[in-house]
Symmetry: C2
Subunit: 196 residues, 2 copies
């Protein structure tokens, strides 16, 4: 049966939405393509018509999840001028930590990306650079640019570590889970305050 | 066939070594218990005699991998008085980044731990606290203790993020992979320098 272009585009979005949520929730290796097709209400064959391999699906689902979240971040940022510290508060919040399946795919899959192929690595690079640029835009008083960039790179990296660690320890030690977020937030904010 | 106590202890070590390397290399969800038994040269049944569930194996393999590495860290630290910055150099080195299957299990499995059970979370907490205490011991001039602890917690968290991110981007952008390590190293070192 032929599928209209419109229907095909809808199916593609349904597959990407299901894949990106499942990969974040249960891990990239923890979810098979058959499960993704089922969650999207489609057949295995329909999935392969859009994504020739799991690697292709993982790469596109990663970018889809990140881009979807950035829409919300941009709306939030446009509501008023947001400072570096306000970004830290949001990125390192308990809500961000507890929001696994629709949260940042970089934090949800951090240690898993190294085991994926070049395409997934490229999508991770793009997402990382986009978040770095977003933070850098709040640091324009800092000159030269190299210092600004260094702080933004270290901040995004620290955030990814803090959310991953906070989630890892949350079951056994909820107090430590909060401390990790707070220590990172304060330490990165101080690094910013030490610059002009 | 009954196995002597000595042989049983040997088998257990072989299983933990195989499991801890495979889980780091290919991900916790990427490796089944049958594969671990095979890599250790043992049967499925022999594995279950030692570890009643995959969760039990994952928890003990995590602790085994971490403890084995800490033996090396302690030897290195005892050779001379090591400073906080020297620890950063080692923890955030390209060698640490490129050493996946025998490197730090916290960095190798960071984002995967949240999906495991309480036992694995407990082992992660223990490992995290041990590395925090090790760094804190190089910061004894910093008073009050809360400030020392905060920096040590933020440093270990940043290290876990930096190694995971550096590995994630290495295939697509090796220059960024180095920049992530360097930016984190310099930023954390400055946080330390800003304190007494």
């Amino acid at each position: 049966m032929r599928v209209s272009k419109e229907k095909a585009a809808e199916n593609r979005i349904a597959l990407l939405r299901a894949a990106s949520q499942l990969f974040r929730q249960r891990g990239i290796d923890g979810v098979g393509v058959a499960e993704v097709a089922k969650a999207a209400g489609l057949t295995h064959g329909a999935l392969y018509a859009h994504f020739p391999s799991k690697e292709a699906l993982v790469a596109e689902a990663f970018a889809f999840g990140f881009d979807s979240n950035m829409v919300g971040v941009r709306e939030w940022a446009e509501a008023s001028h947001r400072s570096f510290d306000e970004y830290l508060d949001v990125l390192l919040s308990t809500e961000a930590r507890d929001n696994l399946e629709t949260g940042c795919p970089m934090t949800a899959s951090a240690s898993e990306i190294a085991r994926q192929g070049d395409d997934v690595s490229t999508r991770f690079v793009n997402a990382f650079e986009e978040l770095v640029s977003t933070l850098e835009a709040t640091l324009m008083e800092i000159k030269p640019r190299a210092k600004r960039r260094r702080l933004a790179v270290a901040a995004v990296t620290a955030e990814i570590g803090a959310i991953a660690v906070s989630r890892a320890v949350a079951k056994a030690n909820p107090t430590l889970a909060e401390e990790v977020l707070e220590s990172t937030r304060k330490t990165v904010a101080k690094s910013r305050a030490a610059l002009p």
